[in-house]
């Protein structure tokens, strides 16, 4: 259950920084069958939330049409030094939390 996060370590106050995230996940759609015809149950990441020093700054609701190993890139304004926390939650109790530090000058 690996997650990759790309956040700049340093930014100027007020700068818009790009954040890239990738989480390892099959994103099984629920529409496929095995060769024996048995339906494979859905198993997807349904939700992604990014908080900046505890305040939610970005959220995504995902559906089976998101490719395996969901990649999400977005941006945020560097307002203060602190921690960005990323949480992915999904079917069958899937939950992964990662964080990254940013220093704002």
């Amino acid at each position: 259950m690996a997650a990759l996060i790309n956040v700049p370590e340093r930014a100027k106050r007020g700068e818009v920084v790009e954040i890239k995230t990738l989480i390892s996940h099959v994103m099984e759609t629920g529409y496929r069958r095995t060769q024996l015809g048995v339906a494979i149950p859905r198993d997807i990441v349904r939700r992604f939330v990014c908080t900046y020093n505890g305040t939610e700054v970005f959220r995504a609701e995902l559906h089976p049409a998101i490719a395996a190993n969901p990649f999400i890139a977005f941006s945020t304004v560097a307002v203060e030094s602190g921690t960005l926390t990323f949480q992915w939650t999904g079917d069958h109790g899937f939950s992964v939390t990662e964080s990254a530090r940013i220093t704002v000058e």
Binding site: T29, V57, F58, H63, F71
Partner: protein, 139 residues
């Protein structure tokens, strides 16, 4: 009519249709008018692999507390279900741009709709030709 189609989607994996997509869009925008413009939807015109098609949506917006993009919704017309993803942002995003990778089960049109803080909705559409479709292979 819209309610009937909605019930059909809720029941099972019937293929989404352009009508089902319109219904899914209605669920999000309600009775508001969806204007063309202000949204840029970047998708490759030809995709060899429908399992991972890069998508970027950008919206023209000042992204200030008074005037910003609240949400970006993405829909498709021919996957088993019309919803792709919804992204919720705000003035702290600084820039109204999001990227991800999506699955496309067939050659089709993808629609992105932006919801602005003033309650208006703006949209863009893009046609993608898919040579290898997602969702069809057996495990």
């Amino acid at each position: 009519l819209a309610a009937g189609i909605g019930a059909l989607i809720a029941v099972g994996p019937a293929d989404a249709t352009p009508a089902a997509m319109q219904d899914a869009i209605r669920k999000v925008v309600g009775s508001a008018r969806v204007n063309p413009g202000r949204v840029k939807l970047d998708l490759p015109p030809l995709s060899e692999n429908g399992n991972a098609v890069p998508l970027t949506v950008s919206v023209e917006s000042a992204m200030s507390p008074a005037d910003h993009v609240k949400a970006i919704h993405v829909f498709n017309e021919k996957n088993p279900q019309p919803d792709v993803a919804s992204f919720y942002l705000g003035p702290r995003a600084g820039r109204a741009t999001v990227s991800t990778r999506i699955r496309l089960a067939d050659t089709q049109t993808v629609v992105a709709i932006a919801e602005l803080s003033d309650g208006s909705f703006w949209s863009a559409r893009a046609a993608v030709v898919v040579t290898l479709a997602a969702c069809l292979e057996d495990a």
